[in-house]
Every structure is written in structure tokens, then in C-alpha cells.
Amino acid sequence: MVLALAIQLFIAAFSSFLVVGLVSLYDPGSGSVEFAVAGDTDEIVDIVEDEDAWTATRHATRAEAVDFFERGDADAVLFVERPGGGGDVEVTVIAPRSDLRTTLVVSSARDLLERYEDTERERRAASLGVETVEVPEGEASPYHGFTYAVLVPLLMFLPVFISGSIAADSVTEEFERGTLDLLRVSPLSDAAVFDGKTATAVVIAPAQAALWLALLSLNGVVVASPVGLIALVAGVTAVAVGFGASVALSFQERKQAQFVYSVGVMAFFVMTFALPEPSANTVAKLAVGSATWATYGHVAVYVVLGAVGYAVARKVAGRKLS
């Protein structure tokens, strides 16, 4: 068990470090970018000057700008053309291939060109008499959303999945090794044996979720409602463990139990997407701090479902123990 926990901790640390590390590596706005611009550049340069982190050097020709970039004096080349006179604009962006800064450079270029697009749109709208909405300013890491909406749910549900799997393992092992009879002759009730087989599995996933949240906050990802998240994980874990143990009691063989369990749990997660809030979205909202009453309602549903599901599994499947 110690080894198992150590392995799991290693996985936790490794993947958390890896993903969070990668995500933070790609945090744009963390450095200055120098553009070499050529062609029809007036507006581009105006936009660059508005942003502290950016600088631009003008060049007479595209070749000159590329040379400048080649020497390492600029991070990227922007070449702006208006082939049809005042019509649509064509921009060529040249970015370094093999460079740790590539992502920063490319996302800065994207940001810059989107602002350029805004000004172009405004001009068109004005000449057409269309009333557009002014685009607000401010730029953020595009991975803020990814962290909360994909990463955190993944980290919360992975231990749940493993927990149910362990519960199934610990039951099938008794059958396969033929040791269940020893438990049957012990003075323990069926329910007590069931609890004993599943207790670690039920506790471990919420504990691990808590650990993961702690690791995340060490990495600078603050979670708004850890209690709500852990309650949700506990509820879902109870469902998964109850289901895993019941499947194991019913099939008594690891290969089949694991197969049915995996398919069943995946189906369960997919089915939560039919709720007003998918399970992953509930986690995301709790984590990011945009939870509504509906979100807490969903948490309550999972907790109740967990309690009821586990109780039913213990009563119905537990009978197979004797």
C-alpha cells in the first residue's frame, strides 16, 4: 500500500508539474517582443507603440526586415501589403522556428494583428454606417480558462476513476485467490466486510483531490471553493466505488469486472453531460469561483447520489458476500 501511494503521489506530482509547468511556460505577456516591420506599416506601428512590451523597427523593404530578423535583432517580421489599394490587407508573419520564445512571439503577433483587425473593422463600419461595439482592452493568458475548465476537472476525476478500479480489484482478488471464505467465516457482517473492502478506496480519492488542489495552489493556480470540490469528488467517488465493488461481486473475475467498470464509469461521466451543468463544468465553476446556486445544487445531487448509491450497493451486492 505504501508503494502504491508512493507511485500515485509520483504520478500526481509528475503530471501536475508537467502540465502546470508547460501551461505557465506558455504564458504570454511575460516578456518584450521586438517586431521588424515593412510595407504599409503606419497603423501597425501605432498599435505597437500603445503596448509597453512591444517595440517596432521600420524597414524599407521586406528583405531588409528579414535580414534584421536573421541577425537576431528582432523577434519577428511583419510585412504588410494592400494588394488592391485601400482594400483588404495581407500580412506575412515570420517567426523563429527553434526558439523557446516562439510561443510568446507568435501569440504577441496574434494579439497585435487582432487589434489591427479591430481598427480596420472600425474604419469599414464607420464608412458603412454600421454601429460596432468598442473592443475592450486587456490581455490575459489564454490558458487561464484551460487550466480551470480542462486541467482541474481532469485532475479531480482521475483519482475517482482509479478508486473504483481499486475497489473492484480488492474484491476480485478475494475471489481469485480463494480467500473470501476466510472472510465469510469471520464474525463480521456482510456490510462490515463490504465497508472494509471499500473504505480505503472511498477515502483515497477525496484525499488525493485535496492533495492535488494543494499542489495546484503551490503552482499558483488558486481554487475558489476547495470544500465544494472535495464534496463533489467524495460523492462521485462513492458512486464509482459502490459500482466498482458491486460489479466485482457480481462478476468475481478481474478482467470482466474491470471492463464493465471502466465502460460503466465512462458512461456515467458522459451522461452527466446531459445535466444542465456537465460534471466537468461544475468542477470548473467551483474551481474558478463562478459557482451559481445551480452549481451547488449539482454538488448536492452528487453527494446524495453517492450516499444512496453506496448504500444500495452495500445492501444489494453485499448479500453476495455470504
Binding site: P28, I94, L113, Y116, S141
Partner: protein, 581 residues
């Protein structure tokens, strides 16, 4: 290895497993799938990002429509009090104000995208919604390396005249990037996961090189493989429970034939799964060929895990561990597919290229596949080493079992050299994994860290076999013997390492961290090169002798010897790095 015997065992395995997954479990699975299919129509609009950020905006405001149309944003009544207490991330009154937090900034950035989409829609009727078109190219600059098979045209579509521009001066190679040309995912999975994505060829369509596609691909290929290894691990583990495997062991087939026979069906299923996934993501034969070694290494690791695990529970952790490590090994380098040569170590890079409609050079297949296939073969051989009564059916400590596995390779003293060579791919993989992990750190930290880790990994790999030989009394515990074994192991490792340096072919040396891990120095004078060739030989021999002399005395002395060897190795590495730099 006799094919007929192998096939017979394979047939048994299939017939037993076909009975193993009985109708009842398939029926349950079918019910689950039907349930999923039943709710699928209701599940389609449930997005991961829905309502992530809260915007206070009046219904009269022009922003209200933009906010309403964004799934990610939730519009509520504007209120100063709610804004200052943090319940609103963005407040729209006369101007737009965002909370001064990461969330507030993300929210306003999201609002910005929403407003842009809204404006573009307003202009769409006049055919000028996207006035700026963008062509993004990636360029190698200022590198002396010219053998650039790692950076041939990505898109294959628009090379033509542009491709040669500036290509003559300074080894520059201008080329079109794979701007999502012909790169289609079914069911819009990517945008769904990403919550972003603009029209190709517009500023919003620029994707900075963090291909989440690689992540999605890694999951698409590896998640189904988990089912296969689950069944495979159970099958292997079941041989070990209640001495069930003793019957096949007692039959006149070798253990290698048994292992091969039990593995063949699962490898076939794994290949079939990979092929199905490849078709589903609209990849071709190239994708299957590229991912096949991954399936192989998956099975190999699972096999060793199943031979060592002491219970089902441990086995579950082992399989999870295997799948996490394989996933990260495969995913992390593939992140840099369009950008960096290091991507070549991941088979997914080939898949990504295949999906982009470009062909990857043959060297990529070799570079990504060969280490995996070789490692898998070694793992199978290692696991087969303990596929025998003494280890399979007893609760022997894992440590001793591992030594047993190594001992199965030792026949004479020269065997230690062979073991050192065999362990090279693991050293290589371990170091590359470390490279992948520390890639994100600044060079000042990552390079010294790598030097230390590299020394630990290499010294352990070199001296383990010697220690195993002493413990199991294959070798006599004398100091001269230890020195001979150490020297043999060191020389073996040196030879293997030099072979592994063929990595240079794909230009891994261009990456600073890669250079540190592999000790490659490409731009040095012949004299320095000669020294660089002889010095590692001396180093490996000397350090392994230190460790193996320690091993000849016992466990604790081995620890001391190994630490001393690591210390010498680190000192040497630091000296080399500072000299070359």
C-alpha cells in the same frame, strides 16, 4: 522460438479470453453504450467553459448582446457592490472594468473575443468581416546545422516560390507553416476543448505552437489502449495466482514462447485499435506505423509490471503509472512538432504531420520508433527472465526479483557489458524524459540538474548488473574480479552510448538541454573531438570500477561506491560543460 508453438499458445489465449469476456459483461457494456447514445442528443450543448466568467452588463448596453452570445460569459445585472466584492469579474458601465485578478483579466480577454465575433457578424452582411488575412511562416535562423531533414515543408501546399526565399543565405529555410491545412478533427473536438479558435487565415486563426491537438491525439490513441493493457495485465497476473501458470511452464515449450504466445493476440488487438483510431481522426497508414511502437512499449511495460506486481491493486497502479508515463513521453515532445527538432522523439509528431497531409522523413520513424521497439524487446526479455516458478508464484521482494531478472542475462563476465548496452535505451529514455520535464526551467537551473540526474541514471545502469551478479553469486566477490567487471560494463556502456549518439542525425544537438544530456559537441576541433572520445571511455570505466568494487563487499558498500561514482561523474560532466562552453 518456434512459430507453431507460439501460435498455439496465442490461440489458447484468444479462446480463453473470448470466453473470458462473456455475454453478460458485453451486455452490460452494450447497455452502458445505449444509455450514452440515449443522452447524447441532450449532451451536445454542454460545454466545459460554459459560464466560467461573470459580466455585469445592463441590457441596454451594446455589450449585452455580445455577452449573451458567448457561452463562456454569463451576463448579470451590473452592480458596483457585487463588482468590488469580487462576484463580478467584469463590470460594464460607461467603460469596461475588470477585476485585477488572473480571472478578471481572462474574463475581459474573453469579452474581447466575444465583442470581436459580434462586430465581425455585424459586418458580415457587407462582406468585410475579415479585412486582414495572415500568412504565418516559421524560419530557422542563424544555425550552422544544414542537414535539415527535420524541417522540410510542413504544409506541402504552398511551398513553391516562397519556400526558397532566403534559403541560400545562412542556412535559412523559409517555409509555410501548417496553418491547419487539411487538418481536420472530427466533431470539432479541439475547439470544444480549447474554447477558442478563429477562422483560418485571419489574425484569430493564428495558433501559437502549443498544439493541443497533440494532447488530444495522445488521449485518442492511448485511452483505448488502456483497455487492452488492462486485459493483458490481468491475463499475465492470473498465471501467477494459485500457481495456474505452472501447467504451461511444465509443458515442452520455452518461457519465451509462452510469453510471445500470450502477447501476440493483445498486440494484434492493440494494432487494430490503433488502426481504428487512426481512421477516426482521418489519419493513414503512416499514423498506424508510427503509433505501433507505442502500443508495443505499452504492452512491454505492462508485462514487466504484471510480473512484478504483488496484487491486483498494485497492478492497477502499475497500469495507471505505465499509461501516464507513456502518455507524457509521447505527448510532451510532440508539443513542439512545428517548432523544434526534439519533437522527432515522439511518434505523435509523425501522426500530426500525417494529419496535416505532409510526409515525415524516414529518419523520424527510426528516431521515434527504434528506441521504443528496442526498449520493449529488452523489457520483454527482462520480464521473461522472471517468468519461472521461483519468481512467479512466490511473494519474493520486488527488489530481489529485479535482481533475478538481471541475473537471467548474466552467463559469463562479458555479459555485464551486454547488459550495459541493453540498458542504454532506458538511460536514453529516462534522460529524455528529464529533458522534457526540465525543458520549462531556465537553462541556468536545467543544465546542472540534468548533469546530476544523467550521472545518477548512467552510474546506476552500469553497476546494477555487476551488483546483481555478486548478490546471486554468479561472480566471485574479489576485488580484481570487480575491477574486470566494472571495466567491461563501462566499455559496454561507452559503445552503446556512442551508438545512441546517432541522435545527432535528427539534430537533437541543436537543443541546448539535449546537448547537455547527451554530451554532444558538434563544433569542436579534431583534437578536442579525440579527447572527447577517449575521455568518456576512461570516465565510464573508472566510475563503474569504483561502484563495482563497492558492490563486491555488500549492499551498503555498493551504495557508497555508487555515490562516489556519481560524484566523479558529475565533476567530469561539469568540467566538460565548462570547457566546451
Amino acid at each position: 522460438m518456434r512459430p507453431r508453438k507460439v501460435l498455439r499458445i496465442a490461440r489458447w489465449e484468444v479462446s480463453r479470453s473470448a470466453g473470458g469476456l462473456d455475454r453478460r459483461s458485453l451486455a452490460y457494456a452494450l447497455v452502458a453504450l445505449l444509455l450514452v447514445a440515449g443522452v447524447a442528443p441532450f449532451a451536445v450543448d454542454g460545454g466545459l467553459y460554459d459560464g466560467l466568467y461573470v459580466v455585469g452588463v445592463d441590457e441596454e448596453s451594446g455589450y449585452h448582446d455580445a455577452v449573451e452570445r458567448s457561452e463562456t460569459l454569463r451576463a448579470v445585472e451590473p452592480s458596483e457592490e457585487a463588482f468590488s466584492s469580487g462576484r463580478l469579474d467584469v463590470l460594464v458601465t460607461d467603460g469596461v472594468r475588470a477585476a485585477d485578478t488572473g480571472k478578471g483579466r481572462a474574463a475581459v480577454s474573453e469579452l474581447r473575443d466575444a465583442v470581436r465575433a459580434y462586430n465581425a457578424d455585424l459586418l458580415d452582411g457587407y462582406d468585410t468581416a475579415y479585412p486582414v488575412s495572415v500568412d504565418l511562416r516559421y524560419v530557422d535562423r542563424g544555425t550552422a546545422v544544414s542537414a535539415d531533414d527535420a524541417s522540410e515543408s510542413v504544409s506541402g501546399g504552398s511551398s513553391g516560390g516562397d519556400g526558397t526565399e532566403g534559403g541560400t543565405d545562412g542556412g535559412t529555410d523559409v517555409e509555410a507553416s501548417g496553418e491547419e491545412d487539411g487538418f481536420s478533427f472530427p466533431s470539432g473536438g479541439l475547439d470544444g476543448v480549447l474554447g477558442q479558435g478563429g477562422r483560418a487565415g485571419t489574425p484569430g486563426g493564428i495558433t501559437p505552437p502549443f498544439p493541443f491537438s497533440s494532447l488530444v491525439l495522445a488521449f485518442a490513441f492511448l485511452v483505448p489502449l488502456n483497455f487492452v493493457i488492462q486485459a493483458y495485465s490481468t491475463s499475465i497476473m492470473n498465471e501467477r495466482i494459485d500457481r495456474r501458470g505452472v501447467l504451461t511452464l511444465a509443458s515442452p515449450v520455452s518461457r519465451y514462447e509462452i510469453v510471445a504466445g500470450k502477447t501476440v493476440p493483445y498486440f494484434a488487438i492493440a494494432l487494430g485499435t490503433v488502426a481504428v483510431v487512426a481512421v477516426a481522426v482521418s489519419g493513414g497508414v503512416a499514423s498506424v506505423v508510427a503509433v505501433a511502437p507505442v502500443a508495443f512499449v505499452f504492452l512491454a511495460l505492462t508485462f514487466v509490471g504484471s510480473m512484478f506486481a504483488r496484487s491486483y491493486k498494485e497492478l492497477t497502479f502499475v497500469t495507471v503509472f505505465v499509461s501516464v508515463s507513456v502518455t507524457s513521453y509521447v505527448f510532451v515532445p510532440a508539443v513542439f512538432t512545428d517548432v523544434d527538432p526534439i519533437a522527432a522523439i515522439s511518434p505523435l509528431s509523425i501522426v500530426v504531420r500525417d494529419l496535416q497531409g505532409a510526409t515525415a522523413p524516414v529518419s523520424w520513424y527510426l528516431f521515434s520508433g527504434a528506441p521504443l521497439v528496442f526498449s520493449s524487446a529488452v523489457l520483454f526479455s527482462l520480464g521473461a527472465g522472471v517468468y519461472r516458478e521461483e519468481d512467479m508464484f512466490t511473494q519474493r521482494p520486488v527488489r530481489l526479483k529485479a535482481l533475478d531478472a538481471l541475473v537471467s542475462w548474466l552467463h559469463r563476465r562479458a555479459s555485464v557489458a551486454k547488459v550495459s548496452v541493453l540498458l542504454i535505451p532506458f538511460v536514453f529514455v529516462a534522460q529524455l524524459l528529464v529533458v522534457a520535464v526540465v525543458f520549462a526551467l531556465p537553462v541556468g537551473i536545467s543544465v546542472p540538474l540534468l548533469l546530476v540526474v544523467a550521472a545518477v541514471v548512467e552510474e546506476t545502469a552500469k553497476s546494477m548488473a555487476v551488483y546483481a551478479g555478486f548478490v546471486s553469486s554468479v561472480f566471485e566477490r574479489t576485488t580484481p574480479n570487480a575491477v574486470v567487471l566494472g571495466a567491461l560494463s563501462g566499455v559496454g556502456f561507452f559503445v552503446g552510448e556512442k551508438a545512441a549518439h546517432l541522435a545527432q542525425v535528427v539534430g537533437l544537438d541543436r537543443l541546448e538541454v539535449g546537448r547537455a544530456a547527451l554530451g554532444i559537441a558538434s563544433d569542436a576541433s579534431p583534437l578536442v573531438l579525440a579527447v572527447l572520445l577517449v575521455a568518456p571511455l576512461v570516465l565510464h570505466t573508472v566510475t563503474t570500477c569504483i561502484a563495482s568494487v563497492g558492490a563486491s563487499y555488500g549492499k551498503r558498500e555498493f551504495g557508497v561506491g555508487l555515490s562516489a561514482a556519481v560524484a566523479v561523474h558529475v565533476a567530469y560532466n561539469l568540467a566538460v560543460v565548462s570547457l566546451v562552453a
